[in-house]
């Protein structure tokens, strides 16, 4: 999906100190043309700072930013051909929707007739027909968000930057708008760099995700790679829920957990941590039956019914497990249960933090 496309935006060893705080610490990243890349991480991880370096609001202390192999590190924001959608939308309250959308065109000296045409097209694109003369305060949150997107797109930026654009919407609207955003991006094929702290949003919207922690990129990969093969415990923990079980890889691909032994392809010998997603465990009331699949007994402590699934907290092997059961229906487990791991869904982290089989953080190698 990516290999055939040229690199559009590249960060090389970018470092930025804000005050005494090292906000971005040697970040390198390549974004292929037309790709939707998300910077994901907890607050304070440096993702927004990275985005602002891309926008040109910050000049990196070290490292460089390239757009199509042109070094733009010193180019001020208003000379870069990027556009940005802000968290609070940053719509000008004293301008109408049309004026907001047309602002960038005006700054570029686009002739009035063409500007009108492009504004109309942009309004059309985000489905705001009939709202052009309104002021931002008169629109709903979702509509305001669309104006912000239209304002960014209408100038035909090379790169679209989005800084948590959905965080001000309520939960349901957020899901809907992010689907729309994704569809719009695919329709236009616009290279997009997106910042969020919401892992679900990141998983659902991105081509690729760069997970950041403490100013560094810890893993870059497709949503699936990030979810199923996290590079380290931080990624595993931050993206989705996970059970962490100390294990020992006794031989290549052979994992010992307590007195159970089973195959996990690619695991290298040594002490390790097994990452088990809640849905990678099957529950049954019956005692262990099938050999070959690792099964052990546990005791249900609490259960939460969440509609589409039921979440169990189970005491087993001396620790607490979180287990999700899809489509639980009427039947709920209680007391003693059997837990069975699905081996191709579990993942081994070597205790130095290196994941077995997945070299860390080197997007260039991919």
């Amino acid at each position: 999906m990516r290999g055939d496309r040229p690199v559009h935006v590249r960060l090389r060893g970018v470092t930025k100190r804000l005050g005494t705080h090292l906000a971005v610490d040697g970040v390198s990243l390549e974004v292929p043309e037309g790709d939707f890349t998300t910077l994901l991480g907890p607050s304070g991880c440096g993702k927004t700072t990275t985005l602002r370096i891309l926008a040109g609001f910050y000049r990196p202390d070290a490292g460089d930013v390239f757009v199509r192999d042109v070094r733009v590190t010193d180019v001020p924001p208003h000379r870069r051909n990027t556009a940005m959608v802000f968290q609070e939308y940053a719509l000008f309250p004293h301008m109408t929707v049309a004026e907001n959308i047309g602002y960038g065109l005006r700054m570029r000296g686009v002739p009035a007739a063409e500007a009108r045409r492009r504004i109309a097209a942009a309004v059309d694109l985000v489905g705001l027909e009939g709202q052009e003369a309104k002021f931002p305060q008169q629109l709903s949150g979702g509509q305001q968000q669309r104006v912000a997107v239209a304002r960014a797109l209408v100038v035909e930026p090379e790169v679209l930057l989005m800084d948590e654009p959905l965080s001000n919407l309520d939960a349901k609207l957020r899901v809907r708008v992010r689907t729309e955003l994704r569809a719009l991006q695919q329709q236009l094929g616009k290279t997009t760099i997106y910042v969020t702290h919401d892992q679900e949003e990141a998983l659902s919207i991105s081509d690729r995700i760069a997970v950041m922690n403490r100013g560094r990129i810890v893993q870059v990969g497709t949503p699936r790679e990030i979810y199923y093969r996290p590079a380290d415990r931080f990624v595993a923990d931050f993206v989705g829920l996970a059970n962490f079980v100390p294990v020992r890889v006794v031989a290549a691909g052979r994992v010992r957990m307590g007195d159970l032994e089973f195959e996990v392809p690619g695991a290298a010998p040594g002490p390790a941590t097994l990452v088990v997603r809640p849905e990678a465990v099957a529950l049954s009331a019956a005692p262990p039956a099938a050999a070959g699949r690792p099964t052990f007994r546990g005791r249900v402590k609490t259960v939460a019914f969440l509609g589409g699934l039921a979440r169990y907290w189970i005491e087993a092997l001396g620790t607490e497990w979180v287990v999700d059961v899809a489509a639980p229906g009427e039947q709920m487990y209680a007391g003693e249960v059997s837990l069975t791991l699905v081996p191709d869904r579990v993942h081994v982290l070597h205790d130095q933090g290196k994941a077995a089989g997945a070299p860390n953080g080197e997007p260039a190698a991919r």
């Binding site: 609001f57 042109v70 000379r79 051909n81 940005m84 802000f86 940053a90 309250p93 570029r108 090379e158």
Partner: protein, 741 residues
């Protein structure tokens, strides 16, 4: 896409244009405009001082011209942006140095050539700073920062330095003689009066010791803890001794400090009560607070003092006619104190109103659910939360009292006060002695200002012009409500009577003796009075515009950009607010009376004095309103390719228009009523209304003074109302979000 790549590559040449433009402007100014001016005339130039003519003879000019040419060619040289920035910085700095050296050595007043060159080189320094990456901003902001810093340096810091220097550097040599003579003069401070048999300082210390003992006893009785007893005893002893020594002392320092303390306490207490009343009263009198709090702002100095004389003097209407008293007790500190409390309570009120407004009602409700009654709430919730604001109000009113010139002059009873002694020393005994008094007053107010700046911080002024928020009003306890309303009504009555008496004075034959109605005083204003009024209004209006622009710009720079010296720039800008006008006045006289910066005797210096004195008002309003705008609005504009001046004009300005307007109004009004600084600077063509009023009063033609005062009050009220209505009309388009005056 090809187009956009082009713009990226084309980014560098556009920055070139700026450098080239400034290089050319600087070069043209330096070469083709005269460098020297004749005396105080702004438009008469020394012949033969065009840059081209000086080039051969003066190496500084030659260096400057060379630098300008270099800067111009820098713009077209194929250099990376960074390198070009650094070179522009270097060339600009060298050029500026050359110009300054030329100005210092040539001894002539600065002409347009040198001015353009100096500003041009400073602009190049700013561009260099921005392009070279020393400040996170573009060239425009870089230039603004450097120019703002230069203006603050020249028109605020340099005059203050001149005061300090003037007190020890006399006739070309460093000496402490004048300092020693002045501080040993009874007019300055006398702790032990040799003219009396007793030793006043000992009396003061004794009183302090007694008070300390009493304090310790009270603390012991109340807390029954040794530590509290010792601390209270020590505290009251030290404070009491200081107060006692002051109380029994003599001289300007004593009078000014005692007055500031008392006025600060009384005005703050009244302000706090009135703030509670305005926000929490259930009585209709609340509505009066708006107009009453505006009144002192538009009142020329002397008016209250004048009214006090006529109402409370030995033959005063109230004291003599109504009460049958025969006393001059209201001349001196008591009268000044009353006038100052009347004038400064509204300042405390405006600060504390913001504080009371911001009190979270939920906290009080929480306290109530925990079983506290309203008195408890007042004592345990409202008061502790309001305490920083109260401290702030106290410090500001104390500064105002220390700096006050008008009231001590009129009702001071001939006693010395620091602010007035500066003027009288300057006009009777020499500028060095004035400088010593100035340095003393400056030290006092700066100390207070530093405490205020450190302790209460930046938020304090914000509330003065901040936007009102509508919350649930919690009514005051009924008894408190009625009691404080009583005080307020009395206060309003006093105000009405005082202003009314001035109005009566302006239309009666002889105030106090002959109450026949006459318009002769208004007729008597012609020609001098009216001419002076026109000049004052004109100069104030002209000064209000740069004052607002510079203040707002500095406010914007310090809120939105980080650069080295940012807080220093803000602090120094605010310094002119904290500096008493008489100190700044003597500073301007000392600083701008010779050499390159010769400006005394021109209208320009009065305008500059207005600009830099009132700029902090706009600065504060600017900071407050810019802080209310989400920074991402400007970033969005920038991302859409607007340069920073465009962003300022299209996004920021429309959103802060109301704040700018109120900055304009206040700058204008403050200039109209200014006295203390400009009394040093008035010129043949630019006598000002306030000094004219003082002159009328001094000669006993009080009717004229009252008439001119009323003309001023009415005019300013009309201006304020007019601009306010204009703002309302303009405010229709953008819905909401406008801070009001």
């Amino acid at each position: 896409m090809g187009r956009s790549t082009l713009t990226l590559a084309g980014a560098a040449p556009r920055a070139n244009a700026t450098v080239v433009a400034w290089g050319v402007v600087t070069l043209a100014g330096a070469l083709l405009l005269p460098w020297g001016r004749v005396g105080r005339d702004l438009w008469t130039f020394v012949p033969g001082t065009l840059g081209v003519e000086l080039l051969a003879g003066e190496w500084t000019v030659a260096v400057a011209v060379l630098c300008a040419a270099l800067a111009g060619s820098l713009g077209v040289a194929p250099l990376p942006l960074y390198r070009r920035g650094r070179l522009a910085l270097a060339v600009g700095a060298v050029g500026a140095l050359a110009v300054f050296t030329a100005l210092a050595t040539r001894g002539q007043a600065i002409g347009p050539g040198a001015l353009v060159a100096a500003l041009g080189f400073l602009a190049l320094v700013g561009i260099g700073l921005a392009l070279g990456g020393y400040v996170q901003a573009d060239a425009f902001i870089g230039v603004c920062i450097v120019w703002a810093a230069a203006f603050v340096l020249v028109f605020i810091l340099y005059p203050l330095w001149a005061v300090l220097q003037g007190s020890v550097y006399i006739d070309g040599r460093l000496t402490l003689d004048v300092v020693r003579q002045t501080i040993s003069s009874p007019a300055f401070l006398l702790l032990d009066n040799p003219a009396t048999p007793q030793n006043e300082m000992h009396q003061g210390l004794l009183a302090g010791a007694v008070l300390g003992g009493v304090g310790a006893l009270v603390a012991a009785a109340l807390t029954r803890r040794a530590r509290a007893t010792a601390l209270w005893g020590l505290g009251v002893w030290l404070g009491g001794s200081a107060l006692g020594v002051l109380y029994f002392g003599f001289g300007a320092v004593r009078n000014s400090i005692l007055l500031a303390l008392v006025v600060g306490v009384v005005a703050t207490a009244l302000g706090f009560l009135f703030a509670l009343l305005a926000e929490r009263s259930s009585l209709p009198t609340r509505k009066l607070f708006g107009p009453v709090s505006i009144l002192p702002i538009i009142t020329p100095p002397f008016v209250l003092g004048l009214a006090i004389i006529y109402l409370l003097g030995r033959r005063g209407y109230i004291t003599h006619h109504l009460l049958g008293l025969n006393t001059t007790i209201f001349f001196g500190m008591l009268g000044v104190g009353i006038a100052q409390v009347l004038a400064y309570t509204p300042i405390a009120f405006l600060i504390l109103q913001g504080v009371v407004r911001q009190l979270n009602v939920a906290l009080e409700e929480a306290a109530e659910t925990l079983g506290a009654n309203r008195w408890h709430i007042l004592r345990t919730v409202i008061w502790p939360l309001a305490r920083p604001g109260v401290a702030n109000a106290f410090l500001l009113t104390a500064i105002e009292s220390l700096a006050d010139f008008g009231n001590p002059v009129v009702v001071g009873g001939g006693l010395p006060y620091l602010a007035t002694e500066i003027f009288f020393a300057a006009t009777g005994r020499g500028t060095s002695e004035a400088a010593v008094f100035g340095a003393a007053l400056l030290t006092l107010t700066l100390t207070i200002f530093l405490i205020q700046h450190r302790w209460v911080g930046l938020t304090s002024y914000v509330t003065v012009t901040g936007r009102p928020t509508q919350g649930v009003v919690r009514p005051l306890p009924r008894t408190l409500d009625y009691a404080v309303t009583g005080v307020f009504v009395a206060w309003v009555a006093v105000i009405v009577v005082l202003y009314g008496s001035v109005a009566v004075g302006s239309v009666t034959k002889l105030w106090g003796f002959d109450y026949t109605f006459t318009l002769e005083h208004f007729r008597g204003l012609s020609p001098t009075g009216w001419a002076v009024f026109r000049t004052t209004a004109w100069l104030s209006a002209i000064a209000a515009i740069p004052s607002t622009i510079v203040g707002f710009l500095i406010g914007y720079l310090v809120t939105r950009y980080t650069f080295r010296g940012r807080s220093a720039l803000e602090f120094c800008s605010m310094l002119s607010f904290a500096t008493p006008g008489t100190v700044m006045g003597i500073g301007y006289i000392l600083a701008f009376n010779q050499g390159a910066l010769l400006l005394t005797g021109t209208e320009l210096i009065i305008i500059l004095a207005f600009v830099f004195r009132n700029m902090p008002v706009a600065l504060r309003a600017g900071v407050a309103s810019v802080l209310q705008i989400d920074r991402s609005l400007e970033e969005a504009s920038t991302m859409l390719r607007a340069s920073s001046p465009t962003t300022l004009r299209r996004v920021v300005l429309p959103l802060v228009r109301a704040a700018i307007l109120s900055g304009l109004i206040f700058s204008f009004v403050r200039a109209m009523t200014a006295i203390s600084q400009v009394i040093f600077l008035i010129t043949p063509r630019t006598n000002l209304a306030t000094t004219q009023i003082l002159s009328y009063i001094n000669y006993g033609t009080v009717g004229l003074g009252a008439a001119l005062s009323w003309v001023l009050v009415v005019f300013m009220a009309l201006v304020i109302v007019g601009l306010y209505l204009l703002n309302q009309r303009l405010g229709g388009r953008a819905a909401g979000g406008m801070p009001t005056m």
